[in-house]
Subunit: 507 residues, 2 copies
């Protein structure tokens, strides 16, 4: 951990602040472990006490961090740093710490408790509504969640649009206006592209429509994550119902999970590569930043860019499968011995409209996000009534995909995000896709032999490039700063659309 | 959790005490999970921050519990309980809480910190000493550890012998004098018994001297723990270097571990059954006692009695293998298909002297404990010099087993206990063996069809009997009270010696 000399000996306010932060981050690490354990190994009945255990630790971490004592240490540390290098780690740590402190103390405690209560009631209501295909069961909760989101925006403050304030939680520095222009440009380019792809000959993916025993899928995915560069000393892959990555004690202890379904091997492999991308970000962080605000990420979108880079640009490429397909055939001779690499790869990258976001392919995926973004903004603005949401969903879905969901369960009720109070979160997925494509082009430019290396199963140069250019900085730069440093310009849809055209339009 | 009515409404001091205890026990549960995770799943590098995470939580739990506020709540709760049933759960909870509070606050904080430091230095010194077979590397640490143990005894107080005070940490209510008489009686009966067994024809255990692949050992042990009655909803079996059981959130979430070695299937199976016995104790506790002092155990010896009952009386019996051996043969046809049940069972229960305590069979095991007990007491009394300990070890070892250890690594340096400051712990293993035999006789008397049930793989009656008579009480009764309630008399060596004679002397 970075320490600075102080006129008053080694226990400067800055060092005292670091010690306090270490205690806060210890509690957060333990909370992450409790969550990870609950999703992977915990016997079912453990849940009866786990909620309180987690709640107590999170409350303790918040109390410790959001106390006036922290504010005082920040102020004293700032004073100590006057005249020192403003680009030092210490300077960045104190700056980010102050940002976090302001965020942590901006909302009144009563409102935070109210939000927590609303969310804890909304989650089961959403599950019931989805199971019963009954939107009205969820509607009153949704109204409360959005009302609280607007109050939240008022506390945070904004100039142009309340949605701006909501975005800050997930994508600091991005505005509604920027997003609108980026996403509408993307929609304008995606819709005709998808049309052209549809007019091409249909892809036969029957080789993937077979049963692949999960134990062997797991063998493959375990080898895969090690092959991609996840060190066994510092990471592990487990199973859970929903795949996730947890930087428990980044960069020393990073855990990722995936799921295996016999009839969906593509989904299992892509989820594993996706989470491996997240995990490589956590593993690439600077150990000296452990337990300081520097260890975080500039935004959700940037973290997502790392998972999407590996998933879309590496994992769906022919080069990738040139190396890995023989091993997959070896594990599944009955299913794949008579399937050529080309046939397998075409099947693996087959595009087809899906009602469900998490099952969408990389061509269609962002339309799902655009739909949600437009509806979220309309709900925040009040231009769409909550009672009209299901109909609005279905109408827009038909415009974008040409079909209407049979049920709300596979329509407006499919995602848990709103029930968790995550309003303003969905766009980060698309930002991740766009950033991934732009970063990938920059990497290719500097490492022209990357495609060749990937056909050989070598990822060392790519990992090192990502570590040096992105991972090691943690939260030092904003997303915009980082994207500009790496790619030479602001984020646009160009690289992503080029990537899709290259992959999905026949020559 | 048990609550009582209070004249001042529902927030009586007793209820406030319960709420405080719940927070303390939440922190302890999380600490247990951190330990379990570190021993099972944690990537190696996770250790760099895990120590501090655990330390912080343990310190927090201690601070919360040992604060004057707890003392005040205990006093007020006691006052509230005056005139109520002195045998109620509430009365026992407050009584045990006061006992724990006194124990937690008896030692000055400075001395506790000094002890912790001494132990943290002693552990690596012990490991080095063992690796280099150099007792003198460990000797200064051992002297410090024993000196602190004596200071500890002074703080705790005692009338007859400082070792009495040390025993209280692990085996409340047992005195050095009682132990001396019990163990010397045991030695007097064991030595000639072992002599008689030695004179019998040697047992051929070549069927166990084969390689048994660990994956199939694991399949067997996983089925075994479920078969013994460990619910999958509330428990799980994992692998670790040293087998252990952790009641993370007893009785809702109990984890046990074992280890598998291809050339030692007997050890793997016995360790699994042993830990299953500990786990069944945790699972049998009363859910209403969760997060109160009632959820604990009266003593280490009593907990050990449950693991030994399953290991010695169930797992080593011919009845047990009548049911399980066909499954083992099915998993290991190559190794076992031509080995009869009787041949296998004789091999499985073969006795032979071992230098190492943890590898000893049930006939020899307690001699290892008697040796350690006698040396510990002599060191505490000062009648044995530390520099003379290795020689004293070897001399007594030769008297008891007829051989001298080749090295100190497999002699006086084999156990980690002293390095951890566990002085007065070893006797609890033998107490566990004695109690197990006496409890087993009582169970057999009340459930005469037990042997028949065990040949059929049915353990429901046994589990229910143990739950009702032992597990559900948690820490309500002392070990002596419990043994007398169940077996009708005080602990003696009779049942255990009868058991050994029945099993190991040919008819």
């Amino acid at each position: 951990m970075s320490q600075i000399r102080s006129g008053r000996g080694s226990r400067s306010s800055y060092n005292r602040l670091l010690a306090r932060l270490a205690r806060v981050y210890n509690l957060r690490a333990v909370s992450s472990l409790l969550h990870y354990d609950a999703e992977t190994f915990m016997p079912r009945a453990g849940i009866s006490l786990r909620g309180e255990q987690s709640g107590q630790l999170m409350a303790e971490a918040h109390k410790l961090f959001a106390s006036p004592r922290t504010r005082k240490l920040i102020d004293h540390a700032k004073a100590e740093l006057v005249g020192t290098d403003s680009d030092s780690d210490a300077a960045h740590i104190v700056r980010l710490c102050e940002l976090d402190y302001e965020e942590a103390t901006r909302l009144p405690a009563k409102f935070v408790a109210l939000q927590a209560k609303t969310r804890s009631l909304a989650k089961p209501a959403w599950a019931t509504a989805r199971a019963q295909n009954a939107f009205d069961v969820f509607q009153p909760h949704l109204e409360q969640l959005f009302a609280q989101a607007k109050r939240n925006a008022d506390y945070v403050g904004y100039t142009d649009h309340p949605y701006d304030a909501l975005l800050q939680r997930f994508e600091r520095g991005t505005s509604t206006e920027q997003l609108r222009s980026l996403l509408s440009s993307l929609k304008d380019r995606l819709v005709p592209l998808i049309q052209r792809v549809k007019e091409q000959a249909a892809v036969d993916d029957s080789c993937l429509q077979q049963e692949f025993p999960v134990d062997k899928q797991e063998v493959f995915c375990q080898e895969l994550v090690r092959g991609l560069g996840l060190s066994a000393d510092r990471s592990r892959l487990d199973r859970s119902v929903h795949p996730f990555t947890s930087g428990i004690s980044s960069p020393y202890d990073v855990r990722l999970t995936t799921r295996y379904m016999p009839e969906r091997i593509r989904g299992s492999i892509l989820a594993t590569i996706h989470e491996a991308g997240h995990a490589l970000f956590e593993l690439g962080k600077n150990p000296e930043h452990a337990r300081t605000p520097m260890i975080g990420m500039p935004s959700m979108g940037l973290h997502e860019s790392q998972s999407r880079l590996w998933e879309n640009h590496v994992g769906r490429s022919l080069e990738f499968w040139t190396h890995w397909y023989p091993r997959l055939q070896e594990l599944f001779p009955q299913q794949l011995q008579n399937v050529s690499l080309q046939t397998f790869h075409r099947a693996f990258t087959k595009v087809s409209p899906s009602l469900i976001r998490v099952e969408a392919d990389e061509l269609m995926y962002n339309l799902h996000i655009i739909l949600r973004f437009e509806l979220e903004v309309a709900l925040v603005e009040g231009t769409l009534k909550f009672a009209d949401l299901p109909q609005a969903w279905n109408e827009r879905f038909e415009q974008l995909f040409g079909v209407i969901p049979d049920t709300h369960a596979v329509g407006v009720l499919q995602d848990i995000h709103w029930a968790m109070g995550h309003i303003g979160y969905f766009p980060t997925y698309t930002l991740g896709n766009l950033m991934a494509a732009q970063i990938w082009e920059a990497a290719l430019k500097q490492l022209p032999s990357l495609p060749q290396q990937i056909t050989e199963g070598r990822y060392g140069d790519l990992n090192e490039w990502l570590r040096v250019n992105i991972h090691q900085h943690g939260r030092k730069y904003t997303t915009t700063e980082l994207i500009t440093r790496i790619t030479g310009g602001p984020l646009s849809t160009d690289a992503f659309v080029r990537h899709l055209e290259n992959r999905y339009l026949n020559a």
